[in-house]
Subunit: 293 residues, 2 copies
Amino acid sequence: MKLLDGKLIADQIKNEIVTEVVNNFHNKGLSAPHVAAVLVGDDPASQSYVTGKEKACREVGFISSVYKYPANISEEKLLDVVDFLNADPDIHGFIVQLPLPGHIDAQKIIERIDPLKDIDGFHPVNIGKMVLGLPCFIPATPSGIITLIDRYDIETEGKNCVVLGRSHIVGTPISVLLSRKSKHGNATVTLCHSFSRDIPSITKEADILIVAMGRHGFVTAGMVKKDAVVIDVGIHRIPSSETKSGFRLKGDVDFDNVSRKCSYITPVPGGVGPMTIVSLLQNALMAAKNKII
Amino acid sequence: MKLLDGKLIADQIKNEIVTEVVNNFHNKGLSAPHVAAVLVGDDPASQSYVTGKEKACREVGFISSVYKYPANISEEKLLDVVDFLNADPDIHGFIVQLPLPGHIDAQKIIERIDPLKDIDGFHPVNIGKMVLGLPCFIPATPSGIITLIDRYDIETEGKNCVVLGRSHIVGTPISVLLSRKSKHGNATVTLCHSFSRDIPSITKEADILIVAMGRHGFVTAGMVKKDAVVIDVGIHRIPSSETKSGFRLKGDVDFDNVSRKCSYITPVPGGVGPMTIVSLLQNALMAAKNKII
């Protein structure tokens, strides 16, 4: 068994991005890629995500701005913020951190973002282009999974691939990416979800198993084919008396037992997580390059 | 075995559309839905498709216009045509018949169409919204398949569904529609294509089998599970000494043998074909209603 070391690959890619920022921006007298995040309300998880993204931006030499608004901001005002960021030539890409308060139609906000600045890849036009195999921003988590597959030279062509979970930001897009005609595609993909029956009989046939169910320890060794590639998107705080923090991070896969059976597996933490953030940076770099090309 | 009679259902729906045109347009003093088709060059197949669409429009009381241009029309001029149709308030929806001559970037033309008039549902924003389960125009063939499933009360929830073929206009969208969270979705979908291995072992597990490979007689009885639902999107002209025309229309499925084994099957012709045209009419009606609501 070999680890798909997302932390290692993410660090490599960050270094590559730093080099690009120096060569293609600083050395050409251009200002570095500038990423903005819009944060509404004071949800601790959202704050923590945005802080993590800011930190990652700084690490690679990007400029990063956060626009904070109270939870009671009106939808209209937030649409104005999006318009403002769309129009600002100094900002290359931005995200609106989700979830948004209930009185705001998140889809309306997403659709207002200029698709060329939509580095989350959530705008329908980016999703449509992804399906069609056209250049676009691909959501960060599926993009990170494809990059892991690329860097570890995992063959996907003709492989049976099973995706557990059909969310708009992970399961559905990764199922599309792996099945479409492309270098890291051409797999035979089965997309499973909460209505799927006898999931173990399906996963047991998977050469590549992508798990994004959001259920701790859902995938056990008995559900996995020998020598499969297992990619675990889940992340859960599990109480633990062995750590100072009082918890451990665990995934959707029973790592200890599954790792003995498979050929490759992502650890949690340190697998898909770091790849997600670095994919957002790659999208931001692409947005900035679109501006200069 | 029961036939999924596309001709019958399409005729029923045409009657329903006629009633809507009378009640919601004529009786309210509004002009009927107006559909335009843009036809470039003199490819006989394209001409025949456009004629078929015009005929269907007339049958349900729509207004229909065809804009014909020579094969050497420039891309710029064709973009102007699209702009003109986008801007014309009297035209509710239109299609640009594909394929286009090689010197024209078809994707550029498609992306220029106002998504609210894109009754083919090929614009990336419509494809993206389809993936997200948002209101949109769904391409006619997958939409027609869903309507057949609806009218024959075929249960999809939790069923194993196998789609053969991953084209942008049939296989990929139907795989998305059947797996997403919706009334005629919630199936466990496997999407197969030219790189898939051992397709018979996959199709044999399918409760619902959608065949859009474009290969005559590809699916044989041995590949089909007993009592499966089989939907055949293929259409091929096969030479025949038994018909006046010298050919017969056949599908991707060996109908004679497969029909003995399955619970439901679409005939070719008279299955998916008529549903495709009527779905385009439904999209046009929706486009016209968007205008009046």
